[in-house]
């Protein structure tokens, strides 16, 4: 590992210089193991699950498919950096209230992807079907997505539209013959 050049980038608003970053180091591993930012979750490492989503210059990217060295002088934001901002808190609160956090392993990835989507459009924020469509690369194995869609709808203050997953739940007597 010696002889590799250092890497300078901005992470969560702070300039960081990381010594000896090998050419094949992934951004995911740089964040987790060189900078100690473990809120970025390691899932499939092949771009298939979205758990490792971070923001690069405000846009969401899969950190498992991004080479760390491409981040020279770039601005990287992880869930740690975003937490505490009103836009992230709104998403996190909506997920918590809707029951969209079960094991929670996919949640930071959803939060980053969502914040970036809502920022991108500025004046005309994306509607519910657009958000749901754009989140197709973020997988969740616990919730079956119903609670996640509820969280998205709550966030936008709209009802769940007809083509998106929505459920009703009632507890009723009558279970005895």
């Amino acid at each position: 590992m010696t002889g590799e050049p250092p890497l300078t980038l901005r992470v969560n608003g702070e300039e960081r210089t990381v010594p000896e970053v090998a050419a094949d180091t992934r951004l995911l591993d740089l964040l987790r193991w060189r900078l100690g930012l473990k809120g970025t979750k390691e899932g499939c490492r092949t771009g298939g699950c979205g758990a490792c989503t971070v923001l690069v210059n405000g846009e969401s990217v899969l950190s498992c498919l991004t080479l760390a060295r491409e981040m020279e002088r770039q601005e990287v934001t992880t869930v740690e950096g975003l937490t505490g901002t009103p836009e992230a808190e709104a998403v996190q609160q909506a997920f918590a209230e809707a029951g969209a956090v079960q094991c929670g392993y996919c949640t930071p990835g959803f939060v980053l992807a969502l914040v970036s989507l809502r920022r991108e459009h500025g004046a005309s924020p994306p509607d519910l079907p657009t958000l749901a469509n754009e989140l197709g690369g973020n997988l969740c194995r616990c919730t079956g997505y119903y609670a996640i869609v509820r969280a998205l709808a709550d966030l936008l203050g709209v009802p769940v539209t007809s083509e998106l997953p929505k459920s009703t739940f009632t507890v009723e007597p009558g279970g005895s013959p």
């Binding site: 590992m1 094949d24 987790r32 193991w33 473990k38 809120g39 970025t40 979750k41 390691e42 899932g43 499939c44 490492r45 092949t46 298939g48 699950c49 992880t78 869930v79 740690e80 937490t83 998403v91 996190q92 918590a96 029951g99 956090v101 079960q102 094991c103 929670g104 392993y105 996919c106 949640t107 930071p108 749901a132 469509n133 989140l135 197709g136 973020n138 997988l139 969740c140 194995r141 616990c142 919730t143 079956g144 997505y145 119903y146 609670a147 869609v149 007809s162 083509e163 998106l164 997953p165 929505k166 459920s167 009703t168 739940f169 009632t170 507890v171 009558g174 279970g175 005895s176 013959p177």
Partner: protein, 743 residues
């Protein structure tokens, strides 16, 4: 109430097993077999040891002197002499960092001689084998044969015998968090931090695998990023502990997703031959013959066959039956439990078969089920009395929904119903420790929350409701297996129901103790004030902690402990003719589901548009948790029904060990309209009469979808998953599986 773990998780603030590290930690990676079956002639580790940063290499040769007792040759921790499946661990390389460990692993030279492999059940057994073939078959792991009456005689006298063959695929649990652990051995303290559903189960498994007394093994659970049955067994922990023992350093192992598919424990293919006899319009007998691929499982350790076979009869009255099955040891990934192990597969065969029988006769399949379904007081096929069971109530609700949907659905859509039943692990024991302390009411647990909410939300709610206070004053603290009270684990849909029972007893114990201690004689009531339990009696109220003795105060609080070991699950009926092992049921739980689908006649693509689940709840303890389990289980079941299938190439390699090719449901897949009804009243043996919920709602999903496809098209798809290819083949009238690749 919002779960208090939700926000910290959403903020990325809670550590999972892949996140933990210790100073001086080594990284270990596996060298695995590239062949399904091969002789290992030589393992050369010299090249690996030369890689800078590599500290240790572990092979099977190193094990004898390292383990307190000789490893059993049939249950190797690392492949010894032969490899039995692609991905079987052959060696581990431990290094100062991950790149060095990987570089080292790539330089371990293994000289293999490839041997013939048995990876294709269908090719090996195109027909149900004769007893003679099986007597000498080297791969038979277990054989079960149970019957009542003489099926062949009944079939001879029957008006109609309906015969079909069903087949199911390899499916994996796929939690988003891969297996990971961190081990540290110091003297006699074999400590491991790991992602597990069952710390005490892992401790027992480790003690067994390593030949250690349980007291020397200390397991600490981390937050778990999903389990679904896949995190019950000691998988990486033995290797991490052995490497730590050898190197004197903490050792971390984390699996890649590819390794997850190859050597974590998954469900393998099964073939069912189903036969049902009708006499005077009545279902009188059924025979199931099952060949179950249990992968490279270990000889003599099979629970799957004896437990699952009974589910192929369905919850229906039968005058006679015959069940026969073989669990086969193959050169595929090892078999393990996956959310209601094999029940979705058995129910796909059993409920598909029943549905096609009823449709063939021109009878409404739901009416047919209602004429035969078990009612309380009946006996199961195995002879146990049927207790509280909401199958009939669920079927009546499903009939109503199916009729309404059929009336409102566009032409070409189909509506299918399926009834699944299950018996949960509520018989497994657990112990609770509740402490009244200045910090509030604290439960000490060995297992961490795995996501379903049972530990973090269900148990505090049980304490709170028992005392009549808000759940916010109850918190959960975690301890390792040396400190926390024993519990069987978060599996078998048992936690809230069964461990909740022990927790309720502890809360009752605390209530009685405080009533005894509170001055006065009137009724005692409890409230919460400033996050603390407050006692009121005869107009006076004060913090409950005022009633603690000085000793209790010094020891951190007033501690109440309670145990709950569930009822014996009953016995099988005498007179049942049985070879091999079958297991009686505990609580019976019904799930009755209705699916509405559209089928694209050109491509064979199936879309599920409306879905309804009528669940036999007993009593719902934690409503948001209950809802989350049903929603998640149904969507996971839709993956099993429609897209999930581990495919092998002709050389026996898994062709799609990753999320890009093994397709689990995404946000656009769940049915847009889902109706969940928890039917209370048929009380189970869990706390407050509850029944488990984690597993039951996945069980009828593949069958409900296949039955809806049959309703829409008249074509019966008898192979899972219902890929467009299989559906269009069935639409063209093909009776046999076109194969979507080999399983």
């Amino acid at each position: 109430m919002i779960r208090t773990d939700a926000l910290p998780k959403a903020r990325g603030a809670l550590p999972y097993a892949p996140d933990v590290e210790l100073p001086g930690m080594l990284w270990a990676v596996y060298v695995t077999s590239p062949h399904p079956h091969a002789e290992i002639r030589r393992v050369d580790t010299a090249g690996a040891r030369e890689v800078p940063g590599v500290v240790d290499v572990l092979t099977a040769e190193d094990l004898p002197g390292l383990l307190p007792r000789e490893p059993e040759p049939t249950r190797p921790l690392l492949a010894t002499k032969v490899t039995r499946f692609v991905g079987e661990p052959v060696a581990l390389v431990a290094a100062e960092n991950l790149p060095a460990a990987r570089a080292g692993a790539s330089r371990v030279q293994v000289d293999y001689r490839v041997l013939p492999a048995f990876t294709d059940l269908e090719r090996e057994f195109p027909h149900w084998p004769t007893p003679e073939e099986m007597r000498s078959h080297p791969q038979v792991n277990a054989h079960v044969h149970a019957r009542r009456g003489d099926f062949d005689q009944v079939a001879h006298r029957a008006d109609h015998v309906h015969r079909e063959r069903y087949q199911t695929a390899m499916v994996a649990q796929v939690p988003l968090e891969p297996h990971a652990c961190l081990a540290r051995v110091q003297g006699d303290d074999w400590y491991v931090l790991t992602t597990t559903q069952a710390p005490f189960g892992i401790r027992e498994d480790l003690a067994d695998k390593l030949g250690l007394p349980q007291e020397k093994v200390r397991v600490e659970g981390t937050w778990v990023g999903g389990g679904f049955g896949g995190k019950n067994e000691a998988l990486l922990e033995p290797h991490a502990l052995l490497l730590s023992r050898r190197t004197g350093r903490p050792v971390r192992i984390a699996l890649t997703f590819q390794e997850e598919f190859l050597f974590s424990r998954t469900t393998q293919p099964a073939i069912f031959w189903m036969e049902s006899c009708l006499k005077d319009g009545k279902l009188v007998a059924r025979r199931t013959r099952l060949l179950l691929d249990t992968g490279a499982s270990l000889p003599g350790r099979d629970f799957a066959l004896g437990y699952s076979l009974g589910f192929t009869l369905g919850p229906y009255r039968l005058e006679s039956f015959e069940l026969e099955g073989y669990a086969l040891r193959t050169h595929r990934p090892p078999f393990g439990p996956h959310r209601a192990p094999l029940a979705p597969q058995c129910t796909f065969a059993s409920e598909g078969h029943l549905d096609s029988l009823a449709r063939d006769r021109g009878e409404d399949p739901v009416e047919f089920r209602l004429r035969h379904v078990w009612r309380p007081g009946d006996r199961t096929a195995l002879g146990q009395p049927v207790g509280p069971f909401a199958a009939e109530a669920g079927l009546r609700r499903a009939r109503e929904t199916a009729r309404a949907w059929k009336a409102s659905a566009p032409p070409g859509h189909g509506v299918g119903v399926a009834l699944g039943f299950w018996s949960t692990g509520t018989g497994a024991g657990g112990e609770a420790r509740l402490t009244l302390s200045p910090e509030g009411l604290v439960l000490l647990q060995g297992e961490r929350e795995i996501g379903n909410g049972s530990i973090w939300q269900g148990l505090p709610e049980v304490v709170a409701a028992t005392l009549g206070v808000p759940p916010a004053i109850v918190s959960v603290r975690y301890g390792d297996t040396a400190h926390a009270p024993f519990d069987s684990g978060v599996w078998g849909s048992r936690t809230t129901a069964a461990l909740g029972y022990a927790v309720a007893k502890a809360a009752e114990g605390l209530r009685r103790e405080l009533e005894r201690r509170a001055p006065g004689s009137g009724p005692v009531s409890f409230t919460a004030r400033d996050g603390a339990l407050t006692v009121a009696r005869e107009g006076r109220s004060y913090p409950a902690t005022d009633l603690m003795t000085p000793e209790e105060r010094a020891e951190g609080g007033l501690r109440v402990e309670a145990k709950h070991y569930g009822k014996n699950e009953g016995t099988l009926e005498e007179g049942l003719v049985l070879e091999g092992e079958m297991f009686p049921y505990s609580d019976l739980i019904a799930s009755v589901h209705v699916a509405e689908v559209s089928v694209d006649r050109e491509t064979g693509a199936v879309k599920v548009l409306r879905y309804a689940a009528f669940q036999d709840a007993g009593k719902v303890v934690n409503p948001p948790g209950y809802r989350g389990q049903v929603e998640g289980a149904i969507v996971m079941g839709l993956g099993t029904a429609l897209t999930e299938e581990g495919l092998l190439d002709p050389e026996g390699h898994l062709a799609n060990p990753g999320l890009l090719d093994y397709r689990i449901p995404t946000l656009s897949d769940p049915p847009p309209e889902l109706t969940i009804v928890a039917l209370e009243g048929s009380l189970g043996s869990g706390v407050w009469g509850s029944k488990g919920v984690g597993e039951p709602p996945i069980i009828p999903v593949p069958a409900a979808v296949a039955n809806a496809v049959a309703d829409a098209t008249g074509a019966r798809v008898t192979v899972l998953p219902l890929t467009p290819e299989r559906v269009s083949q069935a639409l063209r009238g093909g009776a046999r599986d076109p194969g979507g690749g080999r399983r």
